[in-house]
Structure formats: structure tokens, C-alpha cells
Symmetry: C2
Subunit: 392 residues, 2 copies
């Protein structure tokens, strides 16, 4: 799979519904058929390969996505789809037919790099996003998802959500440094943390930076930097809170002019909704102080807001037990990034399995996970899938 869209620097570029995505889908389709799966393509292009059980009970669904960001790595997404395929192939090779079928799924446009928003295929699967709305989404060249699905031949005929799974399981690289720093092992993911993205505008007053005494200034740059330091201090106070200011600009932007305006983004996340709300309230109080003391006006506009999505405790425990049964180190952890699993978790018992990302590199051609960790993760997926597929 990594050969398709290979960028020559170890990375991959398979943007959703591009020619490279089509080639990746064609290869996946060939592999699904080769091991005898019954393949269905739904109306948003999600690809589902079904490995039969010996009953018609609700299937255990395993998967992830094969699209990548513009300058991505080999593992993000593809690992979860290929390990799911490997699970089905292993059962077939061993002649095992579990009680429940397995449904191997590759979701459309998880990354959101070409078409926004991200995690779209799972949102359409659950009904959070309508097919009509999804079809109308266009890329930067004005090409729509509907047209591009048709062009690459993956506008399927079954309704998204046509299966109601018994459980959903997703193997993924951590995309963070924790497992790697702890010497490896498996992450039993307990959920996806809550997120608040805000654009913050600060209005002060432009002034001559040489002639205006400090106490006359209403500096938007000082106010903005105070806010950054307050957010940083809050992460020391509140365990598990992360904060990032990724963008900042001052107007008019001259060395010798006190900025009249500062615009910045804030990314604030915590595993617990109430704690994140508390952090937001604390920030709002500090913003009020900054407004009074620096004599500026601060406005926050939400860019994104996602509630924490806890996973199913039974499935998490099943992942842990599977890892222990394989003599692997396992720790519970929260996912810092978004995944299709957080959407599936709203309709079916769900958990994720993380494997280490060396140095935490993510969305980067140098993204790397050692073969032994890939194998360990795939074995936990297999073991957990069999346990779930044998459930009554």
C-alpha cells in the first residue's frame, strides 16, 4: 500500500478521492476479493469486506482509512485497514469461522486534507452528516466529493450504516510520544479527548513605539502574549490539559508600531468535558483581567468543539486482556487525535488499539513504527476480534 502515492522520502500522498486513493482502493479491493471477502461499497465510498461467521449475528467491525494527508507517512490509517484484512486472512487460513461475521472497513476521507471536514466517511455512516451535504463538499479547485467518487469509480450503491455492528475496533499508531518514551507496548485507548479550537482577536490601539510611554499603551501584542502564558500556566495546574497557540499575527506589523490588533488561535484539549469547560471558564476570567489591565477588547470565536468520546469499558478491557494474554505490556491511554472510532463509538461499543510512534512523529514522511510493534498490534487486534466475534 505504501508504494501507492510514495513520495520518495519514505512518505505517502494518497489524498481522499485522488488518483492515488483510487489506486489504493483498487489494490485493497483486489486483496479483499483474493481472501474471499464479500465486498460492498456504500454511497459515500466506504469499502466493506465481509468475512462470514457461522451465524448471521451482528458482525464485529474492524478498520480505519487509507487516505493520507498531503505529506503523510505509511502507517497512519493504512495500518488499521491492513491489520484488519490480515485478521480475516488469518482466520481463513486457519479454517476458523467465528460465531459472528467480521466486517473489514476502510472509511472515506478520514484526514480532511483535501475535503473538509475530516472523519467524513464515519459521520455519513452514522448519519451525523447527510449524503447530500457530503456530496456537495468541494476541494480547493471546486471539485465535489460526489463528482470525484463517481470519477474514481467508488460511488457505491449500499446505504451507509447498512450494517449495525456488534462492536467496532480500530488499530492505529499513537501519533504521540508516550508509548515510545515508555519503551513500547500496547495502548488500550479509553477514548478521544474533548477539544476546543478558538480564534482570538484582541483590539488595542496603534501607537508610536518610541514616543508613547508604556502606561499609555494599549498593546495588542502584550495582551496576546499574556494570554498565551496564562494558557500555558493552566496546563501546569490542570493535569492532562494541553494548550497550543499555533498561529499569531499583529496588525499593522511594523517593528516600531505598537500593534492595534492581534489575532491568534488556541487549541485546548482534555480527556474530560467538565475539566475542559472549567479550563475555559478560568481562561475567560483571565481574559477579563487582561481586558481591564491592558485596556484591550478580546473576542473569542469557536473554530471547533468536540465533546470527549469515551470508549466502551468492556471492549477496552477486552483489548487489555488480549494484550496480556500475548505477554505484551499494555497501558490505558487517551487519544489526543481524532479518529473514525470516536464517531463509531456513538452508535456501537468501540475501542482502539495504539502502537508506538517513534519520537511521536505524525503526519510526517518520517512517521515510523517498528515491525515488532506492528505485529504486536495486529495480534492484539486478531485476539480481541476473535473474543468479540465469539460473544453471544
Amino acid at each position: 500500500m505504501a508504494r501507492i502515492g510514495a513520495t520518495g522520502d519514505g512518505g505517502c500522498r494518497r489524498l481522499a478521492l485522488s488518483d492515488e486513493d483510487r489506486q489504493g482502493r483498487d489494490r485493497l479491493l483486489g486483496w479483499m476479493r483474493k481472501i474471499g471477502l464479500e465486498v460492498r461499497i456504500d454511497k459515500i465510498g466506504n469499502m466493506i469486506g465481509i468475512y462470514p461467521g457461522h451465524t448471521d449475528a451482528a458482525p464485529v467491525m474492524l478498520g480505519s482509512h487509507i487516505d493520507t494527508v498531503a505529506s503523510g507517512g505509511k502507517y497512519d490509517g493504512a495500518l488499521g485497514v491492513l491489520a484488519a484484512l490480515e485478521t480475516a486472512e488469518t482466520l481463513r487460513d486457519a479454517g476458523i469461522s467465528p460465531r459472528r461475521p467480521l466486517a473489514i472497513i476502510a472509511f472515506t476521507n478520514e484526514e480532511g486534507s483535501r475535503f473538509q471536514p475530516d472523519i467524513l466517511g464515519s459521520c455519513v455512516w452514522t448519519g451525523d452528516t447527510s449524503l447530500d451535504d457530503a456530496y456537495r463538499i468541494v476541494d480547493s479547485e471546486g471539485k465535489s466529493i460526489g463528482d470525484e467518487l463517481r470519477r474514481i469509480g467508488y460511488l457505491g450503491d449500499v446505504e451507509p450504516g447498512f450494517l449495525q455492528p456488534h462492536a467496532y475496533l480500530e488499530l492505529h499508531i499513537e501519533q504521540g510520544p508516550i508509548l515510545d518514551a515508555e519503551g513500547g507496548g500496547i495502548g488500550a485507548v479509553t477514548g478521544v479527548q474533548a477539544l476546543w479550537w478558538s480564534e482570538i482577536n484582541i483590539e488595542g490601539e496603534a501607537n508610536h513605539a518610541g514616543t508613547t510611554p508604556m502606561h499609555y499603551r494599549r498593546s495588542a501584542s502584550v495582551a496576546a502574549c499574556r494570554l498565551v502564558m496564562i494558557a500555558r500556566a493552566l496546563t501546569d495546574e490542570i493535569d492532562g490539559l494541553v494548550a497550543n497557540v499555533g498561529r499569531m499575527a499583529f496588525d499593522p506589523g511594523n517593528v516600531n508600531v505598537v500593534p492595534r490588533r492581534a489575532t491568534m488561535t488556541l487549541d485546548l484539549r482534555h480527556p474530560d468535558d467538565a475539566t475542559l469547560s472549567g479550563a475555559e471558564r478560568s481562561l475567560a476570567t483571565s481574559i477579563g483581567e487582561i481586558e481591564r489591565q491592558e485596556r484591550v477588547v478580546v473576542e473569542c470565536k469557536d473554530l471547533a468543539r468536540f465533546a470527549a468520546q469515551p470508549f466502551d469499558s468492556r471492549i477496552i478491557q477486552c483489548v487489555e486482556e488480549s494484550a496480556k494474554a500475548l505477554d505484551l505490556n499494555v497501558r490505558r491511554m487517551v487519544s489526543g487525535a481524532s479518529h473514525d472510532a470516536q464517531i463509531m463509538a456513538t452508535v456501537t461499543p468501540t475501542a482502539m488499539i495504539f502502537v508506538p510512534s517513534v519520537k511521536g512523529l505524525s503526519h510526517n514522511p518520517q512517521e515510523f513504527t517498528r515491525d515488532e510493534d506492528v505485529v504486536a498490534g495486529a495480534n492484539v487486534l486478531l485476539t480481541t476480534a476473535i473474543r468479540l466475534a465469539e460473544e453471544a
Copy 2:
């Protein structure tokens, strides 16, 4: 003068050596001749009108500039030239011939908005900048100062610095809020403060803003904002120190990516060279702490550095006494901005007279000084000029 290059919003646009500058120079030339001054244009386009004294002793030079920034006001520069002209006209109308001649000067390209650097005409006058170097300076369209001087007809034939004045006096708006906030009055300017402009680059590491725990981050944005707050705190500790961060940018600049790089400018000024150097050393120590604690690399590149330029104590005192003789409030103050006077001060006894800028607005079409303050400033200029022109 304000009608030439009027921008319709109360402001003026007479960029150096533009057609509007030519029209302004033509009008000034006409006024100089009308009151009988002997006019000389030097090789950098400085315009000098000489009002005779009854001896050939070194003249008292009065002036400023008539070029403006792109979106400037009516008063910056033009006030000093027109009040100097008014001084000569008043003497002529009163039939007074002082011991020393007066030399009324309008310097070329004080603002530096079209051609960098600024305060060029005075630097060529004193020999700090050579004529050849000045002629080769080009604007953003590649037009040179030499060619533009010729085009507008102000490439004169006398050598810059052909006069060695007895003293130099410049009336100017404050461009800051101090006199206005104190209810008006005259500023007897004691000098121009020292200045250090720096571009600061901070190298950290890009990381996922959701999956990377805070203590793994090497955030360039946090390091940059710490530095801004340290500079701000330093202005609380050191009386008279002013600091401004006017520009800031993060790379890659995404809401959910911890910035790998921050670039910012710092403008630091103080009336005393040693105190400014002390502030720089204190900042350097703090930068070392930031580098260790935030695990980033900080590099500072000088953009500009000017030593403090004290004015002549005798001339300052003469300005003060003139203001008091006119029953005006007067206070000593340092100029926060640069002026031709700081260059003239290196070759001749110099001082400046400030009048209030309402709300400190500067380089702004709304720049405003009340008529009564304009008249007061011109009277102080006249009185001081007569005192100096009668000196032995």
C-alpha cells in the same frame, strides 16, 4: 502646504522626491523668494533660504522637512519648516536684522518611507552618508534618489554642509501623548533616546498539538511569548525604558501544530546608552533561561542601533527661558522618535522645541495640533532664534 498631496481624510502624502514633494518644494521655494531669502539647493536636494544678518558670522539654522509618510498628517515636519519661514518673515516685517544670518532649511527624505534609510538629507549634510551612496539608493520600483532628484529639478549645485551653523533649532510636534496629557505647553527637548531594533528567531520543534504531552513540547510560540512578557516586565523595572514587539509569526502556523519556529521583532529604547545596554544584557540572560527551560534556540539579529544623542545644554536652556518669557508652561523631555536634529547635533549645538500632539497621534491623517499650540511653538522658535542670532 497641507493642500499639496492632501489625501482627503485630513492627511497628506508627499513621499520624498515624488511629484507631490516637487509641488511642495516649488511652493516653499516661492515663499522663500517672496520674503527675500537667498535660496540655495544642495547636491542632495536640501533647500536652504538665507535671511541676512548684519555680520557674516555663522548663521542660526532653523528647519525640519516637508516630506511625509505614505499616510501622514499635516504637521509632522512641515510645521518646523513653515515656522522657520515665519520667523524670517516676522524679522523682515519688523525690520530687524540680527547679528547672525538665519538659514531656513528643509531636509530631503527625513521619513524614509519611499527611500530607506530615513533622516538622509541631514546625514549627507554632515558627511555621515556620502553623496554617491545616497544617489544609489532606490525605491521599491528601482528608481534612484539621484535620478529622482534630477527628474523633479532639485539636484542642486552647492555642497551639502556648505554652511557651518552657529546652532540648529527644530520645532516639531511631539508625536507622543505626554504634553497633551499634561494639558499642553512646550517641550524643551533634551535629546533623542538610544534605540535597538532586533529580529529574534526561535527554533523549537513542530509537534501534534493533541497527542504531545506538554512536557515533551519545545514550543517556539511559548518561548516567544515568554520573551515578550520579560521585555514588558523590564520596562516596569527600568524607568524610561520602552519595549515593543510589533511583528510576530509562527511556522507552520496551523491551529493544531506546536510551532517549530517563531520570528518576532523587538524595539527597545531608553534615553541613556548605558541603561539600554544594561536592559539588553538582562534580556540576554533571560533568553539563556528560556533556551534551557523551553529547550529552544534563540538568535537575535540587529536591525538598527542608534546611540542616545543628547542636545546642547545651553540651547536647551535658551528654549526654556524663551518659553518662560512668553509665559508658557515648559517641561524638559526626551524625544522618542528620530529627527534630523539628532544628526545636526553631532556637528553643531542643537535643540528641539516640541508642541503637543492631540492624543499622541502620529503618522496618521488624524494627527492634530491646536492652533494656539502651533502659535506658541512658533513664538518660542522666534524668540530663541533671535537670542541665538544676537550671540557673539
